[in-house]
Symmetry: C2
Subunit: 427 residues, 2 copies
């Protein structure tokens, strides 16, 4: 028997004997001829069934092994179809709960139904493609940072306390004690800058026990983080980030020319928070919900302004109020009530939060005290600062939210294989 | 001011003005001359201090900014040292609890002490290098699988039940309900084979609430997993794995020629479990602890045998008893009491468990029933099988244990940045 051929390899095999293995995407009976559309990891293949074959056993999603001959056929995908000599069933299948081969049906199916039947609904090509794009995002994120001198790290998700403040922590029974699921790798990545790696990144799960259910929140998400030492200001972080985003977009454009047309990113424009407030008032008459940072509507409008007036889907907003940022945020050198930090908006949605961090021990301890935090509770973290930390900063970005914005999805859950929210713990 | 130079760039800069930033590794006062050894992410640099400078401010771990001139000096690392004109303190530092510049002191420090002071002990070059190797392992693992047609996935760690059986699960308070931390991505990666991606891999945390504390267990570890469809037997998985291991070893040898001398891996020898039992009895007089699989001592002895008689640090053991493998394990076609599975031993320690899985729905349901498991509790997982699954298999490998074996470390905790065990939840 010949070795397996993927559907994507067929165009080079016209005239040759081939063997395909995959799922029955559908069978189309045109009377004179019956086509089996086979789906494998390469895509779809058009297979002409032998006239004597009983097609009743070939229901949708049946796993089959097909041997036959490839031949040119202009109307087939890739210009080549397969005349089957033999079709063997590898695994039988019950009919799927959703008509997977019909893009319109899949598109109109409620998201909750798609998620309830995730093991099957992922088989719809448009649903699965999101995760091919996502794998490309991950690879490009890492490649860009590795090229910029960063080292990958893995930090614990079982922790004694949250790094981001607030109470949105999941509690874990840890033998006789209690632990929590990390909201972010913030403290650990800072400690790793101090370890001497200087430039570190992590791709790992992060957890937020958010009670509210929105189209952009998950309780478990993949956090893309980097942190870097020896910067002069938050601008050093923003430069690295702009290159990372540009390289991610370029990789996705290259690999998915039909699905993605993402902007070419060189420099990303910036707007200071005070300036953003002024233009929201002047252009949009919006003055509420801007107490030190932008609310969701403010982000949307700044994004609209940036697209229209700067011709950019991406825009940095800098200089949010220090009180609206975490305790480790560095005050702005020219205005101590504001922070040396930034958000990155992408089509009006915040996809990145970052900035410079406090690096001097005494300053960090004072910042903790001013917020009513007890430094003794942060002893392990503070040890890095006690023993010499360089100026540093970094950023965090949710993979699912980035993917959603890149592909124009309606809900972040479409960009998560098996999403978790307040009500959803399965599949 | 000139841009920052890394210590590793100095060899090309003799005669040029340079600016270095990093940590004071140590100051050596030879009377006539005082050296500051500066540590940055590139390594170490030898700096001659100006005679008029007060070195008291330059305690170990102080973060400094040095400007001066590079010049040839055969006794300096890389053949170039820096005559400093100016040394500015960026961040002061308390003296570290461990003499970081002294490899002998670091080596003789108790592991618990190193771990208690992890933010600082990681700064010792020999301690930190482990994680540079580990980052290379991760990159090579992904690159090898991507080249073999695999797609990266991220699956949930918050789950309703464990995939590996047993009760070693951490419980999480999930709003009004209970969830558990995933022991492995097993069920999800199988579902993703069925999604049509066919070949998937994941790098993610996994959790085992193991009460016992050993030198090779962690409660939270990084699991390297892959799973692939359309295999003929477990041998297809083993071939992919052998290539992955070979490419990891080659990448580490290339990047760390001083630290690593790992074997060149082409084919990995195999020994059947029954054969392994016989040779343990014949060569080592060992007959106990071999009830269907190898105990720790059995693994050690088979590893010794493979190294001595086959000249291989790696050896596959195949055909363990079906009863000693999880419910999803495929029975061996020639002996249904044994499994189509394997372990990979590396210097006598199991680093990988893998095999072929059951792919037919009815067979999987029957296997569950025969073990007293209720299929209705596995509905989401079984949905993938109900709707057509190809023959498939895969493997799981702990990153920290692999790193330990590669570098000959005494304890797996040395290969984890911030290890977690029954007693350790910090730093």
């Amino acid at each position: 028997m010949p070795a397996r051929t993927l559907s994507s390899q067929l165009p080079e095999l016209a005239g040759k004997p081939v063997r395909l293995q995959g799922w029955v995407h559908r069978v189309r009976d045109l009377g004179r001829v019956r086509f089996l559309v086979l789906r494998d990891r390469g895509g779809l293949a058009q297979i002409v069934l032998p006239t004597n074959l009983d097609a009743k056993q070939l229901g949708c999603e049946t796993v089959v092994d097909v041997t036959g001959t490839a031949r040119g056929e202009p109307r087939a995908p890739g210009g080549v179809e397969v005349q089957a000599e033999r079709v063997d069933v590898i695994s039988r299948a019950e009919p799927p709960p959703i008509e997977l081969f019909n893009p319109k049906v899949v598109e109109e199916t409620r998201l909750d139904t798609l998620l309830d039947h995730r093991a099957v609904s992922l088989r719809a090509p448009a649903v699965l493609d999101v995760f091919r794009v996502q794998a490309t995002v991950l690879a490009a994120f890492r490649a860009s940072l590795a090229a910029q001198g960063f080292t990958e790290i893995a930090t614990p998700k079982l922790v004694l306390a949250g790094a981001e403040g607030g109470s949105a922590l999941f509690e874990v029974g840890y033998f006789e004690r209690k632990a929590y699921l990390a909201q972010s790798p913030q403290f650990y990545k800072q400690m790793m800058v101090g370890s001497g790696l200087e430039r570190v990144f992590e791709v790992g799960h992060a957890y937020r026990a958010e009670k509210s259910e929105t189209s952009r929140h998950l309780t478990e998400f993949v956090s893309l983080d980097f942190e870097m030492g020896f910067i002069d200001s938050e601008q050093g972080v923003m430069r690295v980030l702009a290159r990372v985003i540009g390289e991610i977009f370029a990789a996705v454009n290259e690999r998915f020319p039909k699905r993605a047309k993402l902007p070419v990113v060189n420099e990303i424009p910036q707007v200071d928070f005070v300036e953003a407030k002024r233009l929201l008032a002047d252009r949009f008459g919006k003055t509420d919900g801007l107490d030190g940072d932008l609310d969701t509507e403010g982000e949307r409008l700044v994004g609209e302004w940036a697209r229209r007036e700067l011709g950019s889907e991406l825009v940095f907003v800098t200089g949010y109020a220090l009180s609206r940022r975490p305790v480790y945020a560095m005050p702005h050198p020219s205005d101590p009530t504001r922070s040396a930090s930034f958000d990155l908006l992408y089509n009006g949605v915040e996809i990145v939060t970052g900035g410079q961090r406090i690096h001097r021990y005494e300053q960090l301890v004072a910042a903790m005290r001013s917020r009513g935090l007890e430094p003794a509770n942060y002893e392990d973290y503070l040890a890095a600062f006690r023993h010499g930390m360089p100026p540093h900063g970094g950023m965090g970005m949710g993979l699912e939210r980035l993917t959603k914005q890149m592909l124009g999805l309606a809900n972040v859950k479409e960009a998560c294989l098996f999403p978790r929210d307040r009500n959803r713990l399965r599949p």
